[in-house]
């Protein structure tokens, strides 16, 4: 605090980058811990595990194949409901309590606050996914599953979850009501998922490549190829750019207090 001598360009630049990671980490840590302070975390993980395990093992022994395709097939739909539950609180509650005024007057850039919250929610989702490792282990013990498909499936789940999450986080910042944030995020993610589904695609005319464009924009399309164990850079890039886009919208909506 006391080492600053003047607002020289290099001096401030160095200090800012020094502080950056600390604040992102501090915010992420705080948000991550706060999941476990309420029953939400435990309810979430329990419900997630019960649902996925039930639907997976219901068919697993009938099909009698050591594959996790069924499991990863559930993810895009299950996350539709679970991810908005993780993001709805993040900004809406700050808006309701008025704590944005605290948070955004700390020496922290708006994007650092957004990133911190995103990292926390993604970390929690990763923890929930890690809890399904015993299921993976079961499959590995019972047969010889395709290892690449499993790794790709987990990577895809994290990227797909991250995409829903970036959208949910943004939508949480446009309202002070958590339920509204949840429902908006649910519909938003649902739209992003549905535009690639065959039932919707068949209704879209194939002019100017519109149909393939819609298929390409959907989250499911890229998830399927990752789930086959093909880690294509284009798929990863798709997810990362959609995530970046929604995080950018989020920063803009936090900044919007300045334009009124």
């Amino acid at each position: 605090m006391t080492t600053i001598t003047g607002p020289t360009a290099t001096g401030t630049a160095i200090r800012t980058t020094g502080i950056t990671l600390t604040t992102v980490r501090t915010i992420a840590g705080k948000e991550f811990r706060s999941y476990f302070q309420s029953p939400i975390a435990y309810i979430f993980i329990t419900a997630f595990l019960v649902l996925t395990h039930f639907f997976f093992f219901r068919g697993f022994f009938l099909v009698n194949q050591a594959t996790m395709r069924e499991f990863f097939g559930l993810i895009p739909v299950v996350f539709l409901f679970f991810v908005p539950a993780l993001t709805m609180r993040l900004w809406a509650e700050e808006r309701k309590l008025g704590t944005t005024e605290l948070l955004l007057t700390f020496p922290v850039e708006d994007w650092e606050a957004v990133l911190g919250k995103f990292v926390a929610a993604l970390g929690f989702l990763a923890a929930a996914l890690a809890c399904t490792l015993p299921l993976t282990l079961t499959v590995v013990i019972l047969g010889r599953p395709d290892g690449g498909a499993i790794v790709g499936g987990y990577l895809g789940s994290l990227l797909l979850g991250g995409t829903y999450m970036a959208m949910g986080l943004w939508l949480s910042s446009v309202t002070s009501n958590q339920i509204v944030a949840f429902i908006l995020a649910l519909f938003g993610s649902f739209a992003l998922f549905m535009i690639g589904e065959p039932i919707v695609l068949s209704a879209i005319p194939q002019v100017l490549g519109l149909r393939s464009f819609c298929a390409y924009m959907s989250v499911g399309y890229h998830f399927d190829s990752l789930g086959r164990g093909v880690v294509d850079l284009r798929d990863v890039l798709y997810y990362l750019s959609v995530i970046a886009f929604f995080l950018f919208l989020n920063v803009r909506s936090i900044e919007s207090r300045k334009w009124s």
Partner: protein
Amino acid sequence: MIEVRNLVKRYGSTVAVDDVTFDVPKGEVVGFLGPNGAGKTTTMRIVTCYLPADAGRVTVDGYDSFEHSMDVRRRIGYLPESAPLYQDMGVIEYLRFVAGMRGIPSGERDGRVRRMVEICALGPMLQKDIGQLSKGYRQRVGLAATLIHDPEVLVLDEPTSGLDPNQIMEIRELIRQIGREKTIILSTHILPEVEATCSRVIVINEGRIVADGTTEELTRMSAGRATTVLSVRASAAAAEPKLRGVEGIESVRLLEDGTPGASRWEVVSPSNADIGAKLFHLAVESGWVLTEMHTASLSLEQVFLELTKGEKRP
């Protein structure tokens, strides 16, 4: 320490802050006084880099609040109105979080937190979540958080609003102690607060500064004038024109007209106008029964009322 120059902020078509200019030298405790909606909070939000100004500039310790926002933020501890806090966090946990956000190295955080707990007397509340605390304790947690990085400047928006009289006394005492070594801007619409804690007062109304000076200077603005309170057995409608007609009276204000056929007034006049005698003769001539009359010099409160009433802009 804080320089505010020609600050303007509009919300749509309403002008919340209109060409506000003031300085706060190092070590001074300045009271920002004004009715609700006068522009106090907006000004504070601009100083603390929460909102940008439409025109004008703010510098804190030589750093521009727009261009060197981070440097300004590091020097300021800000307590927003009604002390918003994360309700589900524990007291210690929250203070540690703020210490982290303030860039205090993790090794020093516990020591700082302990000192803040001591200064703000939070000891008995350490086991509780912030959401369970009383309003007074919440305000103290908020204050502790604004002080944790030992800022040179404190910006406190209505630090005592919503507290009971005992809590108000405690918070004021705390601010007085802190104020010995820091530069403080605190806003309030309660006058005794300013008299109790501030060395200087800036009165703001409808986005403009209407007075700026020490409390003594402000009270002196009333020098040579007196205020007289009188109650008569006459309806407000009948009494007002006659009161206004009395020679030497500057302003007439109806205090109450609860009982029919009676009214209570406050009139301001030069203190040498012998207003008591004139009012007495008026009452006799009009056949009113005079039930109360006393004269005093203008208090800070009346100076404030004078400054912030009238001159309503469209």
